[in-house]
């Protein structure tokens, strides 16, 4: 089944994997995004994630559904955590199963790349020197200036 959730508590791999898998599947891919201890050479001590939850939950579900449709599998689960995370904590977990490995890898990659493009989530890095900064992000497609519509871009 397609499963998508924004959560506040630590992500447990087994809980995410429990949403995927079928007798016809020969491959399961689990991707974990984790908080790393540096950014552009600057030591990082932790990260605060924030979401527009009322929108992020349906967008995450939409991304997972699209990933499944790409490969003909409905076994896609994605969980994104928000709140204060420490180094090594899992911020996002994506599980996909499919009959063959290529499709599972493909769908998994699609989910994380689309998250980066359009999930309304933000993260603030905490640096070793005590400073904090919102991480530079990506402008979602289809949001914002009318001048970006194809009609006006001609």
């Amino acid at each position: 089944m397609i499963h998508a959730a924004i959560v506040h508590d630590p992500i447990r791999n087994q809980d995410v994997l429990a949403h995927v898998g079928a007798d016809e599947d020969g491959a399961t891919v689990l991707f974990l995004g984790t908080v790393r201890d540096h950014a552009d050479g600057r030591p990082v001590t932790g990260m605060t994630y924030e979401a527009y939850e009322e929108m992020a939950t349906p967008v995450l579900h939409e991304i997972a559904s699209e990933a499944g449709q790409r490969v003909g599998s409905d076994r896609v689960a994605v969980v994104h955590r928000v709140g204060d995370l420490a180094i090594g904590d899992v911020s996002v977990a994506i599980a996909v199963s499919s009959p063959h490995r290529a499709d599972a890898y493909d769908a998994s990659r699609y989910v994380i790349e689309e998250i980066k493009k359009r999930l309304p989530v933000w993260k603030k890095e905490h640096y070793a020197d005590g400073a904090q900064e919102w991480v530079e992000g990506t402008v979602p497609p289809g949001a914002g200036a009318a001048s970006l519509t194809p009609k006006d871009a001609r």
Partner: protein
């Protein structure tokens, strides 16, 4: 008519508020809302001229017409994952 503007992450920090009810004339667009807010002066004039927005939880262009009661979220560049 009144719409609710929501601010997240860097925009919330900039403005010091998460939500604001804004009165607009009938027929106003997203772009009109952005202009009305920026016209309030500091700190609102530090918002981008063309920020990404979502109307009622779906990404929208600045040409979109607003209705009374709409929820308009100002979306800083996203950085999930």
């Amino acid at each position: 008519m009144s719409v609710q503007a929501l601010f997240f992450a860097a925009y919330r920090d900039l403005l010091g508020t998460k939500a604001l009810d804004v009165d607009l004339p009938e027929g106003a667009t997203v772009g009109d809302l952005v202009a009305a807010l920026r016209g309030r002066g500091a700190p609102f004039d530090a918002l981008p001229v063309e920020p990404a927005v979502a109307v009622n939880r779906a990404y929208a262009l600045h040409s979109e017409l607003l209705q009374a009661g709409d929820e308009v979220a100002f979306i800083p560049p996203v950085a999930g994952g």
